[in-house]
C-alpha cells in the first residue's frame, strides 16, 4: 500500500474522466466526468499530504471540493437554462465558438 499506488490510481481515474469528456455528448454527463477528474486530483493531493506528513494537502483538497461544488451549481444552471429555451442538450450543437 505504497503511496505510489494511490497516485497511479488517481492517474487512471483522471484519464477515464478525460476520455469521458471527449466521448460523451450530453453536457450533464460531461460535467460528471469533470467531477471524476477533480476527484482524481483530490486523491493525489491527499496521498501526497500523507506522504509528506503535512496537512496542507488536505486543506487544498477541501478547497477543491468547494470549487467543484460551485462549478457544478453553475453548470447545472446553464443546463437548466438551455432546457428552458428548448435547445437540444447536446454539446455538439453549441458551436458558436467556431473560427
Amino acid at each position: 500500500m505504497d503511496i505510489s499506488w494511490f497516485v497511479v490510481l488517481s492517474a487512471f481515474i483522471f484519464c477515464i474522466g478525460a476520455a469521458g469528456v471527449m466521448t460523451r455528448r450530453s453536457p450533464l454527463v460531461i460535467l460528471l466526468c469533470l467531477e471524476l477528474m477533480l476527484n482524481a486530483g483530490n486523491l493525489a493531493l491527499i496521498a501526497f499530504a500523507r506522504m509528506v506528513g503535512n496537512v496542507e494537502g488536505q486543506i487544498f483538497a477541501l478547497i477543491v471540493m468547494v470549487v467543484a461544488a460551485c462549478e457544478v451549481v453553475i453548470g447545472l444552471g446553464i443546463i437548466v437554462a438551455m432546457y428552458r429555451r428548448k435547445l437540444r442538450i447536446d454539446v455538439d450543437d453549441l458551436s458558436e465558438l467556431r473560427g
Binding site: A18, T23, R25, V91, S95, E96, R98, G99
Partner: protein, 666 residues
C-alpha cells in the same frame, strides 16, 4: 588661375539653378535675361581664361585645378578637377560664345511659349554640361559631362512634350546616346585597366610605355571611345537620331545639334590624341567612317524636303569632315572647321527658324518660296551662312574645309582617296546649300510670303509640322505667336555677328600667312607624333580646286532651281529609284527596326508575359498568397467550435508535454 575655369562652370550652373528654382517668382523676361547673362558671364570668364593662359610661357599652359577628391580607394584616386589648356579654352570660347548668341535669339523667338522659363533653365543646364565635358581633367568628369549633355539633349528635344513625335524623338536620341555612353565607359575602363590612372595627365604620360604600337587593348579601347564619339556626333551608323531631333525648338537645333553637342565627339578624339596616335588603326577606321558619313549625309541632304532636316543632314556631313580632320591627326584644321561650322550652322538654323515662323510653323520646302523681298535681313544672313557652308572662296568654311582636305592629302597613300571623296562631297554641299537658298527665297512668293509683303504675318491653326495633326498652344506645345527676325531686334542682334564671323573668321588661318589657331593650340598637341603638314603650295592648289567645286556647285544649283524650274522634277522622275533610297534615308531606320527594335520589344513582351506575369506574379506572389491562404485555412479548421474536439486537442497536448518531460528526464 583655374578660378576662371571654375567661374566658367559656375555661371551657367547658377543660371539653371536660379531659373529652375525660381520659376514661379521670375517673370518671363527676367528668366531670359538671367539665362543670357549667365552665359555672358561664362563667355567673359572664358576670355579671361584665354588672356591668363596666354600670359604664361608656352610649355606651362596646361593647368589642373581640383576642388576636392571625389573618390580615393585602393589603387586610384579621382579628383573633381578641371583642365585649363588651349584646347579646353578654345572649346569654352566657342561653346559659350555661340550659346550666348543663341540665348539672345531665344529670348525673342520663344516669347509666346508657355514654358519659356523651363526652356532657359534647360538651355543653361545644357551649356553647363557641355562646358563640364570640355573642361574635365579626368575620365570620370568627362563621362559625367557626357551623360549630362545627353540628358539635356533629351530634355530639349522633347521640350514640347505633349507632341507625340517630339517625345519619341527625344527617346530615340537618348537611347542612341546611351549606346555611345556604354562604349565610352567601357573604353575608359579598358584604359584604366592598363594604365591604372583616370586623369588625363596620368594616362597620357604612360601611353607609350604601357601600350605598344597598335596594341590590341588600346585599339579596342579607342574603338569603344569612337562608338561614344559617333553616337554623340551622329556619324554612321549611330546617326539616326539627328534628323528626328529636329522636333525640338529651332534654337535647340541651332545650339545643340549644330554648334556644340554634336562636336563633343570631335573634341573627344582631339583630346585623346595620344591614345589614337599610339593606335593608328582606330584612327584610320575613324577617318573612313567620317568620310563615309560626309558623303552619304550630303547625298541625303540633296533630297530632303523638310528645311530643318536638310540642315541637320548638312550638320552630319560637316561633322564627318571634322572627324576626318582629327583622325588624320590634323587637329588644328579639324578644330578650326569646328569653330567655323559652329558659326555658320547656328546661323543657318536661326535663319531657318525665322523662315518657319513666317510660314506659320510649316517646315516643308515644297510649300516655301520667294521670301527674298519680304524678309531681306533673313535672306542676307542665310545666304552668308550658305556661302560659308558651300565653301565659297574667302568665306570661313572655304579655308577650314580645304585645310582639312589638304592635310588629308599630305598623309599620303590611301588617304588621298578619302580626300577625293571629301572634294566630291564639297561639290554636293555647295549644291544642296544653295538648293535651300533658292527654293526658300527665290522664285514665286508663296502665299505666306505674299501676305508678309503686304505687311501681315501669316497665321495658321497650330499643327504638328511632321504629321500635320492639329494641336493647341497650351503648355507643352509651341506658343501661339511666331517671331521673325525682321520684327525682333534680339534675333537680328544674334544673327548679325554670326553672319560677319561666318564671312571673315577664315582669315584666322590663311595658309602661309596666318596661323592663329594652330599656334594657339600648339601647346596641347605638342606631344603629337605626326607633324606632316602640307606645303603651302599644295594648300593653295587644294584651295583652288575647292573654290572651283564650290562655284560649280552653286552654278548647278542655280540652273536646277532658279533658271529652269521643273528640272528637279524631271531629274526626280529619271532617277526615281535613287531618289526613293535617299528620301528614305538609306532605310537605316527600317533596318534598325527589324534588327534591334523588334527583337528587343519581343523580348520585353516575353519578359512581361512569361517572367513577370507568369513566374513572379503567378508563382512567387500568388503562390505565396495561396500558400499562406492554405495554411491559414488549415489553421482555421482547428477552430470547430466543438467542445469535444477542443478537449481532445487539450489531452493530446498534455500527452505531448508529458512525453517530452519523460524523455528529458530519462
Amino acid at each position: 588661375m583655374t578660378t576662371w575655369g571654375w567661374l566658367v562652370l559656375a555661371f551657367p550652373l547658377a543660371g539653371t539653378v536660379l531659373i529652375g528654382l525660381g520659376w514661379r517668382t521670375l517673370s518671363d523676361r527676367a528668366a531670359g535675361v538671367l539665362g543670357s547673362a549667365a552665359i555672358l558671364g561664362a563667355f567673359g570668364s572664358a576670355l579671361a581664361m584665354l588672356v591668363a593662359l596666354q600670359d604664361r610661357p608656352e610649355d606651362a599652359r596646361s593647368l589642373v585645378g581640383s576642388l576636392w577628391t571625389y573618390a580615393s580607394t585602393a589603387g586610384f584616386s579621382v579628383d573633381l578637377s578641371i583642365l585649363v589648356d588651349p584646347l579646353s579654352t578654345f572649346m569654352c570660347l566657342v561653346v559659350s560664345g555661340v550659346s550666348f548668341l543663341i540665348h539672345v535669339y531665344s529670348t525673342a523667338y520663344m516669347k509666346s511659349d508657355r514654358s519659356y522659363k523651363r526652356f532657359f533653365a534647360y538651355l543653361n543646364f545644357f551649356v553647363f554640361s557641355m562646358l563640364l565635358l570640355v573642361l574635365a581633367a579626368n575620365f570620370v568628369l568627362l563621362i559625367v559631362g557626357w551623360a549630362f549633355v545627353g540628358a539635356a539633349s533629351y530634355l530639349l528635344i522633347s521640350f514640347w512634350y505633349r507632341r507625340a513625335t517630339a517625345t519619341k524623338a527625344g527617346m530615340k536620341a537618348f537611347v542612341v546616346n546611351v549606346v555611345g555612353d556604354i562604349g565610352l565607359v567601357i573604353g575608359a575602363f579598358l584604359i584604366f585597366d592598363a594604365t591604372g590612372a583616370l586623369d588625363y595627365a596620368g594616362v597620357f604620360g604612360q601611353v607609350t610605355e604601357v601600350f605598344g604600337h597598335n596594341d590590341g587593348q588600346l585599339v579596342a579601347a579607342c574603338l569603344l571611345l569612337l562608338v561614344g564619339a559617333f553616337a554623340k556626333s551622329a556619324q554612321l551608323p549611330l546617326h539616326t537620331w539627328l534628323p528626328d531631333a529636329m522636333e525640338g525648338p529651332t534654337p535647340v537645333s541651332s545650339l545643340i545639334h549644330a554648334a556644340t553637342m554634336v562636336t563633343a565627339g570631335v573634341y573627344l578624339i582631339a583630346r585623346m590624341h595620344p591614345l589614337f596616335e599610339q593606335a593608328p588603326l582606330a584612327a584610320d577606321i575613324s577617318a573612313v567612317i567620317g568620310t563615309a558619313t560626309l558623303l552619304i549625309a550630303a547625298t541625303m541632304a540633296l533630297v530632303m524636303t523638310d528645311l530643318k532636316r536638310a540642315i541637320a543632314y548638312s550638320t552630319m556631313s560637316q561633322i564627318g569632315y571634322m572627324i576626318l580632320g582629327v583622325s588624320v591627326f590634323a587637329y588644328g584644321a579639324g578644330l578650326f572647321h569646328l569653330m567655323t561650322h559652329a558659326f555658320f550652322k547656328a546661323l543657318l538654323f536661326m535663319g531657318a527658324g525665322s523662315v518657319i515662323a513666317a510660314m506659320a510653323n510649316e517646315q516643308s520646302l515644297d510649300k516655301m518660296g520667294g521670301f527674298r523681298k519680304s524678309m531681306p535681313f533673313t535672306y542676307i544672313v542665310f545666304t552668308a551662312g550658305a556661302l560659308a557652308l558651300a565653301g565659297f572662296p574667302l568665306t570661313a568654311g572655304f579655308f577650314s574645309k580645304d585645310e582639312i582636305l589638304a592635310y588629308t592629302i599630305a598623309r599620303g597613300d590611301w588617304f588621298v582617296a578619302l580626300a577625293v571623296i571629301g572634294y566630291l562631297a564639297a561639290f554636293l554641299t555647295a549644291i544642296y546649300s544653295f538648293r535651300l537658298v533658292f527654293r526658300v527665297f527665290h522664285g514665286e512668293p508663296c502665299e505666306q510670303a505674299a501676305e508678309l509683303e503686304a505687311g501681315h504675318l501669316a497665321h495658321a491653326e497650330p499643327f504638328n509640322p511632321a504629321t500635320g495633326e492639329a494641336e493647341d498652344t497650351d503648355a507643352g506645345f509651341p506658343g501661339p505667336e511666331h517671331h521673325i527676325a525682321e520684327r525682333e531686334g534680339a534675333m537680328k542682334a544674334a544673327m548679325g555677328p554670326l553672319a560677319v564671323l561666318a564671312l571673315i573668321a577664315g582669315f584666322l588661318q590663311i595658309p602661309g600667312v596666318t596661323d592663329v589657331l594652330g599656334n594657339f593650340l600648339e601647346p596641347t598637341f605638342a606631344d603629337s607624333q605626326y607633324h606632316e603638314s602640307p606645303t603651302t603650295g599644295a594648300e593653295y592648289i587644294g584651295m583652288a580646286v575647292g573654290a572651283l567645286l564650290s562655284i560649280a556647285g552653286i552654278a548647278v544649283a542655280a540652273r536646277i532651281y532658279l533658271r529652269k524650274p521643273g528640272t528637279s522634277a524631271r531629274l526626280q522622275a529619271r532617277f526615281s529609284g535613287i531618289h526613293r533610297v535617299l528620301s528614305n534615308k538609306y532605310y537605316f531606320d527600317e533596318a534598325y527596326d527589324y534588327a534591334i527594335v523588334r527583337p528587343v520589344a519581343a523580348a520585353g513582351r516575353f519578359g512581361r508575359d512569361a517572367i513577370e506575369r507568369g513566374f513572379i506574379q503567378g508563382v512567387l506572389v500568388d503562390g505565396t498568397v495561396a500558400l499562406v491562404r492554405g495554411a491559414s485555412a488549415f489553421a482555421r479548421g482547428i477552430q470547430t467550435g466543438g467542445l469535444r474536439s477542443y478537449a481532445s486537442v487539450l489531452v493530446i497536448g498534455i500527452g505531448g508535454v508529458l512525453l517530452y518531460f519523460l524523455i528529458a528526464a530519462s
